[in-house]
């Protein structure tokens, strides 16, 4: 029986955290240990998002935790928010994806771009988990290049809107009560014409279909959204959304959390690998005493420590209002790549047991392949950094 998860802190990063940040981290860590770890392996194999946890996630204040208290949110700083993502993803990337989408891709845009009525109506219910949201940007033919989207929003004579199009790979899509949908209000390709709409999912013409056949993020709802003549009142438009820039701002928020989440997944795999290596006896001794395995875990500890310091610094910059999207690209790219490698190495260290759902490493390994792809693929973040360095766009 593995001991309770105590995190990794080789560089005394704890002393760089405020007391409140440590308390937040410890509270979520404890909750994940007690409530998520006993069920997540089963939920994954059953291909089921553990929706029964949502009320508790809301009650504890994990949803949109860095948004203001006046809307029922916890009003935490960005490092605390990041630590929540770290601990959730220590459990499972699907759970963190749920919280990222709800907080950074649904609550954040409603707060930043929505009307006061949107905020008052939706934020408290989304914060408590009473309502679930999804974010529809990606389309079947527009993934890395969402600005090219062909979902349209046509203004009607009475000032309302009609939406038509298909959104793909939408996290929380089938279970959502509300969708933040991005649509083109002008000619195709006009990045400034892209606006955000708050769409209750019971609006006629809106339908969602579960994405079948996934081999990653099995404990997560990934769906396709079909919008067929979805008629909305004028008030559905988020007045503050101003072109492609707006969804990108949401993605910056979510990617920030992902860079922390990846560290959590990596820590989970590292701890599992170290525990296993200490117990598994082969050739008359624990494999922890074999040089190859020591190199493996030394590499893991090194990159986790680097990743930890990277996102902590990013969080401090964010709190100071100095964080740039390019810095977020660097952290998302580096930390998710790091976590993918660690999950794979941990899985290998575990030998045959490593392929079982009873252990976490392969689940994390498979999950992280989605994380590598969504929220800007690894390659796209390479291009963002390449452009930042050289001044030449290579998209």
């Amino acid at each position: 029986m593995a001991s309770r998860f105590a995190g990794i802190d080789f560089y005394d990063v704890d002393s760089l955290l405020a007391e409140e940040e440590r308390m937040v981290r410890d509270a979520i860590r404890e909750w994940v240990e007690d409530r998520v770890m006993p069920i997540i392996g089963h939920a994954y194999v059953e291909r089921r998002f553990p929706k029964e946890l949502v009320p508790e996630i809301g009650e504890l204040g994990m949803l949109g935790a860095n948004l203001p208290e006046e809307y029922g949110c916890a009003g935490l700083g960005n490092v605390s928010y990041g630590l929540i993502m770290q601990e959730l993803e220590r459990g499972d990337s699907g759970l963190r994806s749920f919280a990222s989408v709800q907080g950074a891709l649904v609550m954040y845009p409603i707060h930043a771009f929505g009307s006061e009525e949107h905020r008052r109506h939706w934020l408290p219910k989304l914060a408590s988990g009473e309502k679930i949201g999804c974010f529809g940007l990606t389309e079947p033919d527009y993934g890395s290049n969402p600005a090219g989207m062909i979902t349209t929003a046509r203004e009607t004579a009475d000032g309302g809107w009609v939406l038509n199009g298909t959104k793909m790979w939408i996290t929380n899509g089938s279970m959502a009560d509300v969708a933040v949908v991005w649509a083109q209000t002008r000619a195709p390709g006009d990045a400034k014409g892209i606006r955000g709409f708050v769409v209750p999912t019971d609006t006629p013409g809106f339908s969602a279909r579960d994405q079948k056949g996934k081999l990653s993020l099995l404990a997560s709802d990934t769906s396709e959204l079909v919008l067929q003549d979805v008629r909305l009142p004028a008030s559905a438009l988020m007045p503050g959304s101003t072109g492609m820039r707006s969804p990108l701002m949401c993605l910056t928020q979510a990617r920030y959390g992902i860079s922390w989440g990846a560290v959590g997944a990596a820590m989970a795999c590292f701890c599992e690998a170290v525990d296993y290596a200490g117990e598994r006896v082969m050739f008359d001794g624990p494999i922890a005493g074999k040089q190859i395995q020591q190199v493996r875990i030394a590499d893991m500890l090194t990159s986790i420590t680097q990743g930890q310091l990277l996102c902590l610094r990013l969080g401090r910059l964010k709190d100071e209002g100095k964080m740039t999207p390019q810095q977020v690209s660097l952290a998302k790219r580096a930390n998710v790549d790091m976590a993918c490698n660690i999950a794979r190495e941990a899985r290998r260290l575990l030998g045959a047991n490593g392929i079982l759902a009873e252990y976490s490493s392969m689940r994390h390994m498979a999950n992280l392949e989605s994380v590598y792809t969504y929220e800007g693929t690894h390659d796209i973040h390479s291009l963002v950094l390449g452009q930042t360095i050289t001044g030449i766009g290579a998209f």
């Binding site: 105590a6 409140e20 308390m23 937040v24 509270a27 909750w31 204040g61 916890a74 935490l76």
Partner: protein, 249 residues
Amino acid sequence: MNITVCVKRVPDTETRIRIAASGNEIDEGGVKYVLSPYDEFALEAALQVVEEAGSGRVTVLSFGGDATKESLRSALALGAHEAVLLKGEPTMDGWATAQVLASELEGDDAALVLFGVKAVDDDQQQVGPMVAELLGRPCATAVAAMEVGDGVATCWRTVEGGQEVVEIDLPAVATVTKGKYEPRYASLRGIMAAKRKPLREKEAAVVEPGFVVESLEYPPPRPEGRIVGEGPEATAELVRLLREEAKAI
């Protein structure tokens, strides 16, 4: 009804304890501290009683150093209304600690003073009953559940092989053990709210300890496991040993 819960900051039970060079105290380097788990039961009991009553305040009181403020704030995050720190250096002398706490509690209007049944660091189970004695109040120990009525508290005590139900007249003291009161998780809003709740600091009364730790030793290494037999035939013997030798079942 107001309740005061006395809490202690102790090393996390998951921490690997190392003995310091002095030989009579632990090495505090790298040790993570938490609220003593039984104190968490006591706090949960207090919060539930006050919540059910619909009124009243829960105060957490601790005798300790500056770092104890962190533990008190974690109690505030769980829902306590205010905290008091008696600043000083507690020793292993439960009697000295009881005197320090009692001198503060004498002026307190709390109808109930709750403690954990024991602190998990020194395991002495002294302080609660001693405080009751000093305050001249009745004391129920090892309380697993309680109901507070008008002027009395009914307590379900865990005793060997069963439960004992007792009534104590208020104001009273009780020590709480594992039972009804599974501690809640600190909510993130609670953690934020804790920063705005009052935490008063006072100098603790100075009491000379009459109980000094001479030395600490590690437990002996665990003896090797024993194979009783193999297959279903071994079951009877295994059950017998578990019952008679290990007294585990």
